[in-house]
């Protein structure tokens, strides 16, 4: 949109930006920082050792394989579903759309956002070492 819409209404703008920055920092950045610092807390050597552990490597390998497979499947399926949903009209269209979007989340929690589905499996890798 044009620049006129980005009207700066003085203090409100900065208060809202402040709230957002604080929220994001506490909720998203700090956990990430903690992950990195804790991973390296016993030194680089220890980190490398943990990551190159035989079981960890196997788990990572499995993760990548599963992720690639899932992404390939989801790309094909997603393309088909998107084509069918947007280009045609048929009965029950809305229901199938909603069903697909909602049902997985409420119940198992294992169905992540499509692309990241494989990352679930990185977790075993974390507990091996």
């Amino acid at each position: 949109m044009d620049e006129k819409k980005k009207q700066a209404s003085g203090p409100v703008k900065w208060i809202l930006i402040g709230i957002s920055v604080i929220f994001l920092f506490v909720m998203l950045v700090l956990p990430l920082v903690v992950v990195v610092t804790q991973a390296l807390s016993k030194g680089w050597q220890c980190y490398v050792q943990a990551v190159t552990d035989e079981y960890t490597l196997k788990a990572l390998e499995l993760t990548i394989e599963a992720t690639v497979a899932a992404v390939v499947c989801n790309t094909i399926f997603g393309l088909c579903a998107a084509w069918a949903m947007t280009k045609f009209h048929f009965r029950g269209k809305k229901a199938s759309d909603d069903f697909d979007r909602y049902s997985g989340y409420g119940i198992t929690g294992h169905r992540r956002s499509y692309l990241y589905s494989g990352f679930w499996k990185t977790e075993p890798a974390l507990f091996c070492s």
């Binding site: 809202l16 909720m27 998203l28 990430l32 804790q38 069918a84 909602y102 989340y105 119940i107």
Partner: protein, 279 residues
């Protein structure tokens, strides 16, 4: 809108529809049906008995209350974040925009562990709140914090595109007619954003109800206090008590469907009111 035609111009209906339905059945419908089948192995009275055990009921209560609290926070914070990202220009905006999706990329168990170490009494954030006598980790507040982390991208990403496409001329008209900025927001902008906000919040809520990985670490899993439904399901599964597990899961599923149905209903009414017709 074109209605169903006898002859379709665009190719590939049969193929794409077939693939979609097949995948939908395999990935979504059959697993869901198996839930019902497994639960049906119990009689109706046993089913009721399983889902009304005090521990299960308290699990439902904890799950819903924390998911609801997290969703409310996410709806408000998501609105603010989307607003800031769309309407304002400031240094670091692009980084901020990219950061929103971090909860998707970070494995939830990792997020759970790091949130726990942050919010425990000795952690960076936890020690601050401990001064005021507020404990976060290993309480329901902790569960809510983890769920806020997990749910925030859903709301932001639902509101953002709607806010971007919003026609500025209505706001200008309202301003010209003498409305104060907040009135413009409340009467002109917010009604347009509400459907997006509700659907984002609905998705986040559904996700929060099933969230397991990030919550188990921060919750401490004390029965009757911080034991969530997914954990109860998990423990039933580990005891090979599939019937109980699926029965409890079925209740969660039913409730989240009801809530999402309600959200859709509100949405449909809203769209009607705004557009003046059924969209």
């Amino acid at each position: 809108m074109k209605k169903q035609q006898s002859k379709r111009v665009i190719p590939g209906f049969g193929l794409t529809m077939g693939v979609t339905l097949a995948m939908l059945s395999i990935v979504v419908l059959i697993p869901l049906a198996s839930l019902a089948v497994y639960s049906a192995r119990l009689g109706f009275r046993e089913f009721i008995e399983v889902i009304t055990r005090p521990r299960v009921l308290s699990g439902f209560y904890v799950s819903f209350i924390t998911a609801f609290a997290a969703t409310v926070v996410n709806a408000i914070m998501g609105l603010i974040l989307a607003w800031v990202l769309v309407r304002y220009d400031f240094p670091g905006k692009r980084i901020m925009d990219g950061m929103i999706e971090l909860p998707f990329a970070l494995p939830t168990a990792v997020a759970g562990i790091s949130l726990t170490s942050l919010t425990s009494d000795k952690g960076l954030v936890g020690s601050f709140f401990a001064k005021f006598g507020i404990k976060i980790a290993y309480t329901r507040i902790g569960i809510t914090v983890a769920l806020i982390f997990v749910g925030i991208p859903f709301v932001v990403r639902a509101i953002q595109p709607v806010l971007e496409k919003l026609d500025g001329s209505y706001e200008e008209a309202a301003r010209v007619m003498g409305a104060k900025p907040f009135t413009v927001f409340r009467r002109v902008i917010f009604p347009e954003l509400l459907p997006a906000m509700l659907s984002g919040a609905g998705l986040a809520f559904g996700r929060c109800l099933g969230e397991y990985g990030s919550v188990v670490f921060i919750a401490g899993n004390k029965p009757y206090y911080t034991e969530i439904t997914p954990l109860i399901i998990m423990s039933k599964l580990q005891e090979f008590d599939y019937e109980s597990a699926t029965s409890i899961a079925l209740v969660t599923l039913a409730v989240s469907f009801l809530i999402l149905f309600g959200v859709n209903l509100v949405q449909a009414r809203n769209t009607k009111r705004i557009r003046g017709r059924d969209a």
